[in-house]
């Protein structure tokens, strides 16, 4: 595979160019090993689709989502204003991100603070790219494979994005199975609201185990997700159940990439 070329906003601006879309990578996508793979895959897909994109790179900072959900509004707004300054200085119009938490914050909470952008989740952009023929998937790759999809809270319930991820799976020509609890009724993976950074409170089960059981109940080959945190939580859950041999957890971008022979 050819070397991945990821232009930054600074470089593009220096050349007097403007990207079609800013790829907001997010903290997880920048630092978590599993999530970094998803980030690279997404960058490859964008490259393949000839989307002129750029990243903020070292100018990007946490959106402030975990601080806000944990009640630290000061820190959140500090982050928000810093990021908005950067984004507005580059005159960013369109943003795509692989993280539903960044997606929600940028889309819903930044406008009131002066950051107005058209924000897309990567599954929405991939859907458009496939529909427009800028990307294509070869059939057969997932033939006979059972895929189930876990709705991320901040994509589904929080923002009503239910169709784009399902449409991507439908395009893969696989066997799609819905979990008993899905869409608006989907159960959280347990990481939201800053839970990702702390031990859970005392209880009789971990939430990610409960959710993994939902998924395993439909005996899938693949559990698809659209969120780096859900991905971590469910991967851990599958390991906990000793099923990592049979069941794989993939981000939708990775599935699309596999089907388009990347």
């Amino acid at each position: 595979m050819s070397q991945l070329v990821v232009p930054t906003m600074a470089e593009m601006t220096a050349k007097g160019e403007t990207p079609e879309v800013l790829f907001w990578v997010g903290c997880s996508g920048s630092f978590d090993d599993r999530a970094k793979k998803i980030t690279r895959t997404m960058a490859q897909l964008l490259t393949k689709a000839k989307v002129k994109f750029a990243v903020l790179g070292t100018e990007e900072a946490c959106t402030g989502d975990p601080a806000k959900r944990a009640g630290n509004e000061f820190l959140f707004q500090m982050q928000a204003f810093t990021n908005i300054q950067v984004l507005n200085a580059y005159n960013v119009k369109k943003v795509v991100t692989t993280c539903p938490h960044c997606f929600n914050t940028l889309k819903n909470e930044y406008p009131e603070l002066g950051g107005n952008y058209e924000v897309m989740h990567h599954t929405e952009l991939l859907q458009i790219l496939l529909n427009d023929g800028r990307l294509s998937v070869a059939g057969g790759k997932f033939k006979g494979k059972k895929i189930t999809y876990h709705d991320a809270c901040y994509l589904g319930r929080a923002n009503d994005v239910y169709e784009a991820p399902r449409d991507l799976i439908a395009k893969l020509d696989s066997e799609f199975v819905e979990m008993k609890r899905s869409r608006a009724k989907g159960l959280c993976c347990g990481a939201g609201g800053a839970q990702m950074w702390k031990e859970p409170e005392k209880g009789n089960k971990d939430i990610n185990i409960e959710r993994t059981e939902d998924a395993l109940e439909v005996s899938p080959d693949i559990i698809a997700t659209g969120c780096p945190y859900c991905n971590t939580m469910l991967t851990d859950g599958v390991k906990n159940k000793n099923k990592e041999g049979q069941v794989k957890v993939f981000d939708l971008a990775e599935l699309v990439a596999q089907a388009s022979d990347l």
Binding site: S30, V55, T58, C62, A70, E73, N104, A158, E201
Partner: protein, 437 residues
Amino acid sequence: MQYLPNVLFAVLLAVTAVLFAKQASKIRRNILLGRDLDRSDNPKLRWKTMFMVALGQSKMVKRPVAGLLHIVVYAGFVIINIEVIEILIDGLFSTHRVLLFMGAFYDFLIGSFEILAILVLVACLIFLIRRNVLKIKRFWSREMTSWPRSDANLILITEVLLMSAFLLMNASDSILQERMVEHFSKAGAFPISSFFVPLFDGMSTDSLIFMERFCWWFHIVGIFAFINYLPISKHFHIILAFPNVYYSNLEKLGRFSNIGAVTNEVKLMMDPTATPPPADGAPQTFGAKDIQDLTWKSIMDGYTCTECGRCSAVCPANQTGKLLSPRKIMMDVRDRAEEVGKNIDKHGKDFNDGKMLVNDYITAEELWACTTCNACTDACPVNNDPLAVIVELRRYLVMEKSEAPKELNNMFTNIENNGAPWQFPMSDRLNWAKEEQ
């Protein structure tokens, strides 16, 4: 003597009205103890939402059995109360079935009321069985202590008794009509109560008149009592559900409010040359420690809560055995609002009882278990928002008390120092692009 019943009726009616107005105005006052929040935008969508969710019960039917039974009880309750108009006129003016001039339509009305009455009665019996015999889990969790459980049972039993009285009244009335007793003119159709007629076979006319009168009084006095029971019961939702849904949050569920006061401070910090906006009044607490710091809408949520537990039944934390229960959050808000209200009545506006919503009612352990997943708000049939309360209380713990769990404080420090919740320098943010797949 002749007017005694009318006078008695008029007095009872007046007492009912006055007592209810008093209780309702106290609740209104308690709700308005909360902070301002403008929810007057988009009236069209608000009416539509109210029409769908409150009147149409669109979220109730997501659990089909309970939902359909509830619609029967609710529709029955509302429609049968048309009959109360007649009862009021009859009671005040000693008429009997004053509306019967409507002829065939009257028969149709009474007939439909009877059918609804029996449906309501059966539905309430099923509800009682679900709660007390089948012991459905969500009605027996930690916050469902003896009062909330009795409250629910009391309402159901009252409904059963009221409906029985209505049917027995009609049964005895229809026999009296057959016997052409004076005053009991022929009116109404009795598709259901006719089955009860054999019960009264061979009863003397006097006993039947007593029976009919007894049921009539029982029914209406029962309703009067019920009206004044509402304000202390979860059953108050039959009134508040409408304004509560009207004023519900129309934004995307993921959007949390930005605190305006924080915006001003942060702007000042980032640009020291900016002029601070004029401070209006006392500085407000960041987040909420008590109900006065919540918005009025959150307090209204508490008073509207039906204690159905649908929120907790879908809450990931609650289902995995954590202490957090969104239903309890709502019940605590109401209980605390009631307590604060009583304090104001007794000791005046500025009385401080040394208690707070946070810690005394809702503990940090409950608050930190929330994943902010919004399953509770999505499930609530009256569009309550337990998450809004949880977030306000967390804000208080973090910003006023610096009492976040240790790991979260570390996360805050990381974001502050290096712009990520983990300890990675910002300069490494693009490393992923150079690494091997």
